[in-house]
């Protein structure tokens, strides 16, 4: 009986329990092995979609299409042995929905002696799904991390222990929990800093990110970029840190080498106008600056640690380069990164043209300078490739080669400075002649400056002003001023003073042409210059400052403009004069006209500064010259009541060009006449040969007047062309031309003057010209 009561009580308890659990969220069902479901609670209805009525009496595994993790016989054996079984089951709910449950089976034998199973199922479908997804994504992440990172590690929440570290070949692995990881891995000098950053990451529960030094497998020093993410549990507390680290040793060394390099290289590196690419020793890109990104279209992340510069270079060119180098150096060089840096690896700074291939497949020509980056022991740790966009230069070259054969000949000549620019004036080509004349290497100026930057600034300013006036449009004093005419299709030749690298100046004649493409668009400019030093030297003393240079140029320009009409006039008169039908009476006038035009021609040639021997030197008696010139002035001298005193010594015959000495005398007499507006005395003296300096014998002549004199401030400038105090009647060319002629005869000329007292002009001329001296010796 006791037993029966006990059973009853057990039954009741079970039913009560079942009733209580009917309302539970868990699915609770009671069923008989081999028989039907006897109890089906609300939770089961919710989970499986079958109502109690639908479920009762059905065979549970049939209804729910149960998938057991083990064969049922094994589960049953476990039930009989322990009274319960726990495990995960898969069911199919009404409508086909897959359900995963965490199930607990409890075996009970009721009062009726029938075995029943109380099955409690908790829906874990969603969490299993999430777990699965998490597992999958973690696998993905691991795969990703393993592929891109060298090191993976797991840390406990406060970083006191490292749980795991797989260090690749970079740093040694940790398999078991390691509390000494800081000592094992981190460089002593970086430990404090690393801990500081970690503490902050723990406090803020944010990523740990840091570049620091580590001890590598081989004991050497390495650099790593380490990043760890905190994994948070459901309460938002850190449960673990998952970290990855990358070996950035090569990049760090490249950076260090770069920062040991000069300021220029660093400036270049920071510049967006240069593509700077640093690689490790094998060529893998470590640094890809903003300029490289801009020019090549890749982001740094797309290329860093992935490819070599050879991968973004024209492959044919790389092959060509390898072949050429193999031949040149007599050793086989592989067509790849090696071909790009081989010379640099041998300590030769290497600059060459290379076509880069952009991300979009387009190409651009670059000038690449390659330097090897070395550590303290001179071992190569990488390479630095600095590139400039060569497109503009290429275009200029093409335009140049479409130009005439002569231009090409000039371009290859060291006697002409050939400078080609892009449309903005930035120098693209700087030939060997330009290098020689200006002292810069092509690399120093190309893509950096314009020709205006190596020209005399005041000349550039003046040129701009002159052009502005001429054209009526303001022209900026800069490159524009140098090429404005050329840009308007006018071939322009002018004198320009270049400033050498050492600051010294040299005069050049510059011819400027615009380089145009097939559509007549200006691609750039070509400035061909010849060294004008020799000619300028002849004019030394004349052109003393920059203002003079421009005034001299103006004289040349005027003379040049006069030349064409003058030529026609001379020719026309010649034709008339040589006409056989010409009446005799006209002829003498024509001869006069011709002579006068000849003088004009002579003056323009002088002004142009390349007066060549027209007359040849003869024995000139200075007395005779002075007398004949004074004869010409006689009427005017008389008019002004000027008394002339002559004192001539004997033997004042010199070897010179008669016409020019006459001009000298004439100019000085004319000046004195102007100074003697109120009358006065003019003293003309000639002294016989005497030695002034060295063995040369010189003749001295002085022309003195007691006229107005020259103001002190003007005395310095009287030899400047176009300098005149005689506003209405002076040309300002007289004394300039006189001093030039004296110099041409290897003489000297001095002027002493005092305002209100008078002026003394002293001229020394050699008895014989130097070439005569030599011939005589």
């Amino acid at each position: 009986m006791k037993n029966i009561r006990a059973y009853k009580q057990a039954d009741e308890a079970l039913l009560r329990q079942a009733e209580m659990l009917r309302l539970s969220f868990d699915a609770i069902l009671v069923w008989r092995p081999g028989g039907g479901i006897e109890s089906w609670n609300h939770g089961a209805e919710q989970l499986y979609g079958y109502s109690e009525a639908e479920a009762l009496g059905r065979e549970t595994h049939d209804l729910l299409q149960t998938t057991h993790p083990l064969p049922w016989s094994e589960i049953e054996a476990k039930l009989r042995e322990c009274g319960h079984w726990e495990g995960e089951l898969h069911h199919v709910a009404k409508g086909g929905r897959q359900v995963t449950v965490s199930a607990r089976h409890q075996l009970a034998v009721g009062t009726d002696g029938v075995e029943r199973i109380l099955e409690t199922n908790r829906d874990i479908t969603e969490s299993r799904k999430m777990e699965k997804a998490l597992r999958e994504s973690e696998q993905c992440l691991r795969a990703l991390v393993t592929a891109s990172a060298d090191v993976m590690y797991r840390m406990n929440p406060d970083w006191s222990e490292m749980h795991q570290l797989s260090g690749g070949k970079f740093i040694t692995d940790t398999v078991t929990t390691n509390s000494a990881w800081l000592q094992d891995y981190i460089h002593p000098d970086d430990r404090a800093q690393v801990m500081l950053v970690i503490k902050e990451a723990i406090r803020t529960k944010t990523n740990f990110e840091m570049e620091h030094r580590v001890l590598r497998v081989d004991g050497s020093l390495g650099w790593t970029f380490s990043r760890a993410l905190p994994l948070l549990d459901s309460r938002g507390e850190i449960s673990e840190w998952f970290g990855v680290a990358t070996d950035i040793t090569a990049r760090k060394l490249a950076e260090q080498a770069l920062f040991q390099a000069g300021a220029l290289q660093r400036a270049i590196f920071d510049s967006a106008n240069f593509s700077s690419i640093a690689t490790d020793a094998r060529g893998t890109i470590q640094i890809f600056n903003v300029g490289a990104e801009r020019m090549l279209g890749y982001t740094a992340a797309e290329v860093m640690n992935k490819i070599t510069p050879a991968d973004i270079s024209d492959s044919d060119e790389v092959i060509e380069r390898a072949t050429a180098l193999s031949i040149e150096l007599g050793t086989p060089i592989k067509p790849g990164f090696e071909a790009l840096v081989f010379k640099a690896s041998r300590g030769i700074e290497d600059i060459y043209e290379l076509t880069y291939v952009r991300k979009d497949g387009s190409r651009f020509p670059a000038i690449v300078s390659v330097t090897a980056l070395r550590d303290a022991h001179d071992a190569i740790i990488g390479y630095l490739l600095i590139g400039t966009d060569n497109t503009a230069r290429k275009q200029a070259e093409e335009a140049l080669f479409k130009a005439g054969a002569l231009r090409r000949a000039i371009f290859n000549s060291a006697n002409f400075s050939t400078i080609a620019t892009d449309a903005n004036g930035i120098i693209q080509i700087f030939n060997v002649g330009a290098e020689r004349m200006l002292g810069y290497t092509a690399a120093e100026v190309m893509n950096k400056i314009t020709p205006a930057d190596i020209s005399d600034p005041s000349e550039v300013v003046e040129r701009a002003q002159t052009l502005s006036r001429e054209i009526g449009t303001p022209i900026k004093p800069g490159f524009e001023a140098l090429v404005f005419k050329a840009s308007r299709g006018i071939e322009d030749i002018y004198a320009l003073t270049y400033v050498r690298k050492d600051g010294s100046r040299f005069p050049a004649m510059v011819s400027v042409t615009a380089l145009r493409d097939a559509h007549e668009t200006i691609l750039g400019y070509l400035l061909i210059g010849t060294d004008n030093t020799a000619r300028k030297r002849a004019e030394e003393g004349l052109i003393r400052n920059e203002k003079l240079a421009s005034v001299g140029r103006m004289a040349a320009t005027i003379a040049h403009e006069i030349n064409n009409p003058l030529s026609s006039a001379i020719n026309a008169i010649y034709l008339v004069r040589t006409d056989p039908a010409l009446p005799e009476c006209v002829n003498s006038h024509l001869i006069l006209a011709e002579q006068e035009l000849g003088r004009v021609a002579h003056i323009t040639k002088q002004a142009l500064g390349f007066f060549r021997e027209v007359g040849s030197p003869t024995d000139v008696d200075l007395r005779q010259v002075f007398d004949s010139v004074l004869d010409i002035y006689a009427p005017r001298l008389k008019n002004k009541d000027v008394e002339v005193r002559r004192r001539y010594q004997s033997s004042t015959c010199i070897h010179a060009i008669d016409e020019e000495i006459r001009q000298v005398a004439s100019n000085i007499f004319a000046n004195s006449l102007d100074a003697l507006s109120q009358g006065g005395k003019l003293q003309v003296r000639l002294f016989g040969p005497q030695s002034l300096r060295g063995p040369r014998r010189m003749v001295r002549m002085t022309i003195a007047d007691d006229g107005e004199g020259i103001a002190k401030e003007n005395l310095k400038r009287i030899f400047e062309p176009f300098f005149t105090t005689k506003q209405s009647i002076g040309t300002g060319l007289g004394l300039w031309a006189t001093s030039e002629l004296v110099k041409k005869h290897e003489g000297t000329m001095k002027i002493k003057s005092q305002l209100g007292k008078g002026t003394v002009v002293t001229i020394w001329l050699p008895l014989e010209r130097r070439d005569q001296d030599r011939r005589a010796a």
Binding site: G404, A405, L406, A409, I410, S413, N415, F416, E491, I493, A495, M509, V510, S511, T530, N532, R535, A556, H560, N563, N564, P565, L566, S567, S568, I570, N571, A572, Y574, L575, T578, G598, A601, T604, K605, L608, G609, F610, R612
Partner: protein, 124 residues
Amino acid sequence: MILVVDDEHAIADTLSLILARAGYKSTATYSAAEALAAVANHRPDLIISDVMMPNMNGVDFAVQVCKLYPGVEILLISGHAGTKDLVEAAGSYCGHSLDLLTKPVLPEDMLSRVAEILRRISGV
């Protein structure tokens, strides 16, 4: 025959007349392009050309002639100091030096230079 090239018509015409007056057969042209056509048709013994001309300058023209018609003598007339070097460069490119007179050229000077050149080529 002597061919004269100058974009200044007055100069080209008068020069040509002066040459004719001196007994030479002479033609005036007014651009390098026109002159090139004339060279092709007439094969002159000598060309007298201005240097500063629009489109194609005298130096480029001379180089063209040297290339196409070696043996045709060229006397350049320039009004500019800088052209001397250009003419020298062109001469070295052509393989023989080019003659050069500076503007303005007096008719007598030109005639004596022409006579000298023609003597040189016929004398060889």
